[in-house]
């Protein structure tokens, strides 16, 4: 080979090698600029599958961010793990939180207020902010500051067996308590031992079901002084109505768990559930009969209301700035109209953006699933829990009052009075 040629070859090899090296090094440094964040959540089963789908979409469209979604169990377990993680100074970058957990976390400055990001360089415009339902934004405020982003929100609805209602001659779902009582009575079927073959309505012995009745008869959790207001005439009437349906009129049954399976099996003709429960209703009914969804009945139409529940997304201050920014990009993306629409379609949670209702996918979904729109009809009447650290414990006290009243271990007045005493103490009174 001529000397010049091998020289050129060698140079070519050298250049090629250094190019390859540079590329390798270059992509290594590109990889180094990827930010990984952890997202702790409590979305299991079908809800978890939808969430993981969205996270995958985000990761694929945001190559510089890796979101690791980690299921922590149910909400109780998630709260426990977050509390433990904060003590150990190893919280995730972002997680689901209930407002009352957030109220506790901010006492140690564990969260970065979401409004900092909303108003920051990669923020949201006024139009975008106004596009989030006002009631949901208000529910995410603590001491006047916007701390967390509404994420998986649900409202309570009445589910009814339309086939059964038709059979007993009821053409529209009950809208008032008297209509509910009359319907439940007509729908109740018993064997000759007096046992239920089908109860008119299925209740649960917890605060959320109590809220369905209390809110829809004019009740508010707190009075103007910030004390529990449930012990007055409105609270007593609401709880007494539930107790009466069980024990006096005997048109209702209750359990602590979920009614979808029994409803699908025809063991109860109506029940109340939060909107994501509807996907379970669908699989439980499996086409055996026609069923429908309606807004919650109210003691009187002027008192129409529904509890809104569910968690927000919160960003933790222990994370680095790069991680926080990446988390904000993720949070902002999750509540964009397309994503919140996909989330609502996959889970029956309500979309948090008003404009989501106008997206093609949402309109198509409602056309195929008219039931899903019923939840949204109530969005002007939502009532929500106060964001106080003590509220989590107080929820338990109120549920205890409901259980005692259902078991006739105390009168409605006594049970609520006890909850008020214990709860007000937790509020500092």
């Amino acid at each position: 080979m001529p000397a010049g040629e091998s020289m050129r070859k060698r140079t070519f090899m050298l250049v090629a090698l250094s190019l390859i090296l540079a590329l390798a090094l270059g992509s290594a440094s590109l990889a180094a600029s990827k930010v990984t964040i952890t997202f702790w959540h409590a979305m299991g089963a079908q809800l978890g599958a939808t969430l993981e789908g969205l996270v995958k979409d985000f990761n694929e469209t945001h190559p510089d961010i890796v979101v690791k979604a980690e299921y922590q169990g149910n909400y109780g377990a998630l709260q426990q793990k977050l509390t433990g993680a904060l003590v150990a100074q190893k919280p995730p970058t972002v997680s689901q939180v209930y407002g009352n957990w957030a109220a506790e976390f901010i006492t140690s400055n564990a969260l970065v207020p979401i409004e900092n990001f909303v108003n920051g360089p990669n923020g949201m415009s006024k139009l975008e902010v106004d596009d989030i339902y006002e009631g949901l934004r208000k529910a995410s405020m603590i001491n006047g500051k916007w701390y967390t982003m509404p994420f998986n929100k649900s409202v309570y609805v009445l589910v009814y067996n339309k086939t059964a209602l038709d059979e007993v001659g009821i053409t529209t779902p009950p809208a008032t308590w008297q209509e509910l009582l009359t319907a439940a009575n007509k729908l109740t079927k018993r064997n000759d031992k007096g046992e239920f073959i089908r109860s008119g309505i299925g209740l649960r012995d917890n605060i959320d079901l109590f809220a369905c009745f209390y809110f829809a008869s004019g009740g508010e959790w707190l009075d103007k002084d910030g004390k529990l207001a449930i012990g007055g005439a409105t609270g007593q009437k609401a709880l007494q109505f539930m107790v009466d349906m069980l024990n006096k009129y005997k048109v209702a049954a209750y359990m602590s768990g979920y009614w979808d399976a029994d409803f699908g099996a025809g063991k109860t003709a109506m029940y109340m559930t939060s909107s994501p429960g509807l996907s379970y209703t669908e699989s439980a009914v499996a086409g055996k009969f026609e069923w429908g969804v309606a807004p919650l009945p109210a003691s009187d139409l002027k008192y129409r209301a529904t509890p809104v529940a569910g968690t927000d997304l919160a960003i933790y201050s222990k994370s680095t700035k790069a991680e926080q920014d990446a988390a904000w990009t993720f949070v902002k993306w999750m509540v964009e109209p397309t994503q919140t629409a996909k989330w609502a379609i996959g889970t029956s949670y309500i979309p948090v953006r008003k404009s989501a209702l106008y997206l093609g996918i949402m309109k198509e979904y409602f056309a195929k699933n008219p039931k899903a729109e019923q939840s949204l009809k109530q969005l002007n009447y939502i009532k929500y829990d106060p964001n106080l650290a003590a509220w989590n414990g107080i929820r338990g006290d109120i549920s205890t009052a409901v259980q005692k009243a259902f078991l006739a271990k105390a009168t409605v007045a006594e049970a609520l009075a006890e909850a008020v005493t214990v709860g007000n103490k937790k509020l500092g009174f």
Binding site: Y71, K81, K248, A408
Partner: protein
């Protein structure tokens, strides 16, 4: 060898105490080893704390536990991010398993609104998300031949699988029931649920588990599941669980065992021919290595009844000679230590093998009256799973002579399930009556002793509470009916229009005030109804009207009471006011009747207004210390009780309800005595 003093024994048949040799094998006691552990616990792999490694390490180090199982909530293991944790748990358990020293197990908890169950012995975990009802969970368990426990069977928190309604397919899987559960502030005692399950045909053994949700495995409480086996290996522990060689103990090392011949707790003895009438000798071992003594040891049989009993003792080996009353019988021992700790063993069953179980015997009538039709009730379960034909039944009654057949018929039971059995019959004897139920199926007859009942020679006096007009506290008068029964009166409720027919034979009619508002029934009385009541009072009936304090919303309206009192010319009425004490609604009052002074509890009471010259007055009782509050202001010492004689009858007014189930259950008050006194006057004219 001394016999224990007879006076300390409450109920015995024949008991012989054998020399108590505490630690080595006493005469007659089966040669077996005792092990202690916990079969229900969580870590952070579900909703608890820490890791399996920490849990197994802790319990095997602090001692007192020979076996230990984790039972994470199954649904955690089905999340795609968490599936590996099931396998990791098994790995972590393996590192601690030392045959002969410590057995580590991995199970899971299937959580469902019917009740929670632990599963063991299956290669993967079940979960409420995949096995969404009891039937699917049982299918899963059958597929893998697993075993399961009924967890924390407290009827206040869960329906207990439809109150332990029998189902053979599940009975083949469930082999344990948590007679004690939870490590919380105090372990919950669930023995009544154990008895119910056993009565209704389930064959389950007794266990006691801590359900740890914190890192307090082994240290949360002294309670343990006790287990007998020949050796300590994974296989032998799982076998002991499956074959019910377990017991529930609140004392961490107390030994308990029962046996009949070679059969240990968990076994079924199938008799040749009838079991009822046979005698069995049941061996009982009760001993605490720490020397704790026992305040009583009972042998319990069907219905939770005590078949034999031993009073205070130092522990040891006992033999109880018992006679079987049923062709399907169970016996288990309950031992109570002097410090209060309870130990409950698994049962031994003695049966003919025909496979039907009758339970829940009762007569549905408040009173049995000679010559009056009555209704006998029982539940019947099919343990064979293959009851293809109808089951025949015969009901026998015995008084002073022998058993006489009263009724017969047949019923269908779904194979492997259960059915209600209602038998109408007419008792033709008076005094003590013993009933016997005989069931006949292709596998042979089975007889059950069905209880002892009192038959009256004449109809008792009757009272009724109106619940047909949306009356206050409807459905809460069962305590009143019980109180009336104890006084020899037959109580009931009226639920339709009141007329001559519904009033016939009644001595007392109680009308709680109808509530205006949400209702399914009329909230007002028709003219004809009030006229019928008035006429009935004049002919000798007693009427009791109950008032209600006013809250200003129109729900309490005394219009009909006023009309009725007018018809009866009783010059008293209810006031639309509220009884108050120191500014708040009064919740108690001191009231004096002819029979004495009573402190009674009530809620939302009103006062009574008396008119001048009220004739036939028998009693006016005021409540000093209380006020009645109206828009006009406060009035002192309001009248709360008033009673009159009208025609041949009596009328009493009380400003509230003193005897609903809420008031009668309150301690520290005289509502029961007050009610008894009032009933005595209204029913029989005596104070």
């Amino acid at each position: 060898m001394r016999r224990h003093a007879m006076k300390s024994v409450i109920l015995i048949l024949l008991l012989t105490m054998v020399a108590p040799s505490v630690l080595s094998s006493p005469e007659g006691v089966p040669d077996i080893n005792f092990y202690f552990g916990n079969l229900h616990a969580h870590t952070s792999y579900s909703d608890g704390m820490g890791t399996p490694t920490e849990a197994y390490s802790q319990v095997s180090t602090i001692g007192g536990m020979d076996f230990f199982s984790l039972t994470e909530h199954g649904y955690y293991f089905q999340q795609t991010t968490n599936i590996h944790l099931w396998y990791k748990s098994i790995q972590e358990a393996e590192a601690f398993y030392v045959p002969g020293k410590f057995v580590s197990l991995v199970g899971y908890e299937w959580t469902h609104s019917e009740g929670h169950m632990n599963g063991y012995g299956t290669p993967i975990a079940a979960s409420r998300d995949t096995q969404r009802d009891f039937a699917s969970f049982m299918d899963f368990m059958h597929e893998y031949d697993g075993i399961a426990t009924f967890n924390h069977p407290n009827p206040d928190i869960q329906p207990n699988w439809n109150d332990f309604s029998y189902w053979k397919s599940a009975d083949d899987i469930a082999c344990m029931l948590e007679v004690g559960s939870g490590a919380y502030n105090r372990n919950t005692r669930n023995e009544p649920s154990y008895v119910k399950a056993l009565d209704r045909g389930w064959k389950v053994g007794a266990v006691n588990n801590q359900d740890n949700h914190k890192n307090d495995w082994g240290s949360a409480a002294e309670v343990r599941t006790g287990l007998v086996a020949k050796e300590l290996t994974r296989a032998s522990v799982l076998e002991a669980m499956r074959f019910m060689r377990t017991y529930s103990t609140e004392d961490r090392n107390a030994r308990a065992l029962i046996w009949i011949g070679d059969n240990l707790m968990g076994d079924t003895i199938t008799t040749d021919g009838p079991a009822a009438g046979k005698r069995m000798k049941v061996g009982i071992l009760a001993e605490d290595p720490d020397g704790d003594s026992y305040s009583r040891i009972d042998l319990i049989t069907n219905g939770g009844k005590v078949a034999a009993s031993i009073g205070p003792s130092k522990g040891g080996v006992y033999y109880a000679d018992v006679e079987l009353l049923h062709d399907y019988s169970y016996f288990y021992a309950r031992m109570v230590e002097a410090d209060g700790d309870r130990i409950v063993t698994s049962p031994i069953w003695v049966e003919t093998g025909a496979g039907l179980v009758a339970s829940d015997f009762s007569v549905e009538d408040t009173f049995l009256v000679k010559g009056r039709q009555a209704s006998f009730y029982a539940r019947v379960a099919d343990r064979t799973g293959s009851m293809a034909s109808e089951v025949g039944y015969e009901l026998y009654a015995k008084n002073t002579g022998g058993y006489v057949k009263e009724a017969e018929g047949s019923l269908s039971i779904s194979p492997g399930r259960w059915a209600h059995l209602t038998i109408p019959f007419v008792p033709d004897m008076e005094g003590a009556m013993e009933l016997k139920l005989v069931l006949s199926s292709p596998a042979g007859p089975q007889s059950f002793s069905a209880g002892r009942y009192e038959v009256l020679d004449k109809e008792p006096m009757r009272l009724a509470v109106d619940e047909g007009h949306n009356n206050r506290l409807t459905s809460y008068y069962t305590g009143l009916v019980d109180l009336a029964k104890s006084m020899g009166y037959e109580g009931g409720v009226l639920d339709g229009e009141i007329g001559k027919g519904s009033l016939e034979g009644l001595k007392l009619l109680v009308l709680p005030l109808p509530e205006q508002g949400f209702a399914l029934t009329p909230t007002y009385y028709e003219e004809e109804e009030l006229a019928a009541v008035a006429g009935w009072v004049e002919d000798g009936g007693s009427l009791l009207l109950l008032g209600w304090g006013d809250i200003g919303d129109g729900s309490r309206d005394f219009k009909d009471f006023a009309t009725l009192l007018g018809l009866l010319e009783v010059r008293a009425s209810f006031s639309s006011d509220m009884l108050v004490f120191k500014g708040a609604n009064a919740t108690s009052a001191t009231v004096s009747l002819q029979s004495g002074t009573y402190k009674i509890a009530f809620t939302e009471g009103c006062s009574l207004t008396l008119k001048e010259g009220a004739a036939g007055k028998v009693l006016i009782a005021r409540t000093p210390g209380l006020n009645s509050k109206t828009e006009a202001g406060l009035a002192e010492s309001p009248v709360f009780v008033a009673a009159f004689e009208r025609g041949k009858g009596k009328v009493m007014l009380i400003g509230s309800v003193p005897f609903s189930d809420y008031e009668l259950k309150k301690s520290g008050f005289d509502n029961t005595k007050f009610t008894a006194s009032v009933l005595g006057w209204l029913m029989e004219g005596r104070w």
